[in-house]
Symmetry: C2
Subunit: 158 residues, 2 copies
DNA sequence: TCAATATAGTTTGATGTCCAAGTAAATGAA
DNA sequence: TTCATTTACTTGGACATCAAACTATATTGA
């Protein structure tokens, strides 16, 4: 018995047992968030898979679909989604391959490209959003108070 | 002016504007956790980089160093760290290449290998832990109450 | 005992992330 | 105007994750 009930509780115990008391709570915070993120990631990916999307590509499509013209310079996309330019290049490559997005020259800047969502892209992202909402977002298993607390605390971290 | 103050707040606004009210909070929870995880991941990676480790490899070494014998079957490692067998294979390959871990036949099961931490591996993980503690874990920027709330809420999610 | 099934790891392929280096175009100072 | 610098994006390399197929070894049931 007592065989590591919960890996994270166990890690906390180890940290204090080694005298790293000042870091034990921070370690637990970081590890817990990492685990929860992994769980959500898996759920989200499962909901998006039938639509041929990953969360990275979904976020990009979702972002474009919310803009007035359905287009944004790749640099803006990276800034909004907080990912590196190389990741945007990669995501747009695949979305373009699947016909969900097109690259267009940016009339305002010769170095830049606009990622433009296609009609098919709009259709796919709408359908994917419905599934994502019903399968993941509509019930994350938290009370209103939990969500309020989480919003407050996570807000301090970003 | 009104130009997306915070991407997550903005996303929440978009969700309700599209009538997905029931999913807006869940979406915000998932997105917030993803962002915070990205931030921590970057800090953790930065602290570990001078030691030639990634978080995945650090966790594996840390796990082995906490065991009695410094060894665990690869399958156990995957179960503890909640990662796929292929990820364990990959991590152990690199750790072995760097001399931090060794694969040994499992005397109890001919199909299995034990990952055993080396003397160098122990040295590296101890040093890395000190840096990780001082640079990331010792100050995550949350009050005791914040941490308590976070622990409570995240506990419900995993 | 033997065939069917399950388990432990590895391999391969697709995706994604970051970093560093490279290319092309825009900007800015002299 | 001109040349150095900055910016926007792409490329290639290293790493990590998941899924599916494959090998070898255990286990089980008839």
């Amino acid at each position: 018995m007592t065989e590591s009930l919960d890996p994270i509780t166990e890690a906390h115990r180890q940290w204090t047992a080694h005298g790293w008391d000042d870091a034990a709570e921070g370690m637990e915070v970081v590890t817990s968030i990492t685990r929860v993120q992994q769980i959500f990631q898996a759920e989200v990916d499962a909901a998006l898979k039938p639509h041929g999307l990953t969360f990275a590509r979904f976020e990009l499509l979702r972002l474009l679909s919310f803009t007035k013209t359905g287009a944004l310079p790749l640099g803006k996309v990276g800034a909004r989604l907080q990912v590196h330019a190389a990741s945007v290049t990669s995501a747009v490559d695949r979305l373009e391959r699947d016909g969900l997005v097109e690259r267009q020259a940016n009339p305002d800047d010769g170095r830049s490209f606009l990622a433009t969502i296609t009609t098919l892209g709009r259709k796919v992202v709408e359908e994917a959003t419905l599934d994502l909402n019903s399968q993941v977002f509509e019930d994350v298993g938290l009370s209103a108070k939990d969500i309020a607390d989480l919003r407050r605390v996570l807000g301090k971290l970003r």
